[in-house]
Subunit: 274 residues, 2 copies
DNA sequence: TATACTGTATCGGCAGGCGATACAAAAGAA
DNA sequence: TTCTTTTGTATCGCCTGCCGATACAGTATA
């Protein structure tokens, strides 16, 4: 299951398209900044180092502008030449910002010991994700010793509309907001069993609201089972989710649900009353 | 050992100071981009959400410029209001770039299974780091089940001059380059045993060159033991390091060295001949 | 030898970023 | 309460510094 998620991530929110249509000029909007981030985002759709022209094409900029921005980002350490000087790759300075992001996120900081306990208890892969509009962004993965693939998945993102964790999150939102998220999602059938129909999805959401969690089979990857539950802030608004994942070769969905869900609920309850 | 590394990271390279002195104007340098990254870097020195004025102060910009850049970065998702709307924090979009960074780094991709094996074999904390001039940036941490603190340390950085992994890296560089790195480092005594003298450090480096690895005690944290070995590219240049860490309450340095180093060397040899 | 890429450097014009300024609302402080 | 400070937000003319066309040497691929 190495190649499934490559080269880019599974799901991406509709970008803020610069100069989209005749939208009024925003006097506070600094174009160069958006362009710079666009240059960095050029790497989202590749799995190898990029040349200047390739970056320009991906960022929809001319070569001159790209040259200047790449030059600047290189000086700052956000872009570097790849190991064999064959092209540009993201620079190491980005790690500093992820460090900040995690340090300053109370949920992530508090969650670590709980999630390690959870992994030990269930001996399956445990993931923590944060909500970003239409998707869930993975911020931490804790896996059992046996599993060696996909250990590093900080930053992976998955759609809300077709994941157990996503349904659990939708269950904590008002019906109209949930439906809005589903509608705005580009609903892809990742497997034959992926739900893409709004009402079918809302049925699962209803079940998630009733149970507090929800299990799902083969929504993103064939043979994959997942159980997700939402983490909420003190006002009850969802801010993230915890997912436990396993394989259909190890469990039936029902067995998995019965064995895992009580422990999972215990964890998210602890995390939600912060 | 929770608070040691807060709020900012342990070590930071001298930043490229914008407009430093009377340095010739670089016609390719885009000032706004540098300012934007400076705004994001404002969070490096805080452990709580920042107000606009605080960001402006940290980034050495006036409030107007800060306002415009923060506005832009917010629209793009790189900055957001904190959970209680009390200030600004880094946004979730940063995770996308870390994902790219890891995806496109061959070492990280290849290393994961090796490092998991290594952790299982030695049952101690295992870290992979990449070189960034004067420091090592942690990109992955694998820890034994028992340990629950500091699980999430992607992006943490430590100085080269006073860590076992750093010495191992210096051992793979020509003498003058190694000395240059030591000299340019701001050598802080994190503990009473921290080495800050250039020649004393180079002695350890020589030992590292001989052995292929090096052990160290209490260089960064009291009571901490570490063994580090460098990972090199096919040309023999160091690109990163693997560190195994434990506590003086569990081992003497000699025991630790004898028990751990053979397995560590096996791992870095496998990673270096890629 | 062509052809199409690399990465890099230069430069005049004018858009758009700069930063001073202003203001309502909220949070303390007296 | 009243005074003071800080919050986030909005406006606008000046002029700087970004824009992007253009050029060129070096290197693969054919």
């Amino acid at each position: 299951m190495t190649g499934y998620l490559s080269p880019a991530m599974l799901h991406r929110n509709p970008e803020l398209r610069e100069g989209e249509g005749e939208e009024a000029h925003d006097p506070l909007f600094v174009r160069s900044v958006a362009r710079a981030m666009g240059v960095l985002s050029a790497f989202h759709t590749t799995d190898r180092p990029l040349s200047l022209s390739e970056i320009a094409r991906a960022a929809e900029l001319d070569r001159s502008t790209t040259q200047r921005i790449v030059h600047t980002l290189r000086k700052l350490g956000y872009i570097q030449r790849d190991q064999y000087d064959q092209g540009y790759v993201p620079g190491i300075r980005i790690y500093d910002h992820i460090f900040d992001s995690m340090r300053l996120n109370r949920l992530i900081q508090r969650a670590v010991p709980y999630l390690l306990d959870l992994r030990s208890a269930v001996n399956e892969r445990v993931d923590l994700s944060l909500i970003d509009d239409l998707r869930l962004v993975y911020t931490a993965r804790f896996q059992p010793k046996s599993e060696v693939i996909h250990a590093m998945m900080v930053g992976l993102s998955v759609p809300i509309y077709c994941t157990s964790a996503g349904w659990a999150v939708l269950a904590r939102l008002p019906e109209d907001r949930a439906r809005d998220i589903i509608r705005r999602s580009e609903r892809v059938s990742y497997t034959p069993r992926t739900l893409t129909d709004e009402d079918a999805i809302m049925e699962r959401v209803a079940q998630a609201r009733e149970q507090g969690y929800i299990a799902a089979a083969e929504q993103l990857l064939p043979g994959e089972l997942g159980i997700g539950a939402a983490v909420t802030d003190s006002a009850g608004h969802p801010i993230g989710a915890v997912t436990i994942t396993s394989l259909m070769s190890d469990w039936t969905l029902e067995e998995f649900d019965h064995a895992i869900s009580p422990t999972l609920m215990q964890t998210v309850r602890a995390l939600s009353t912060g």
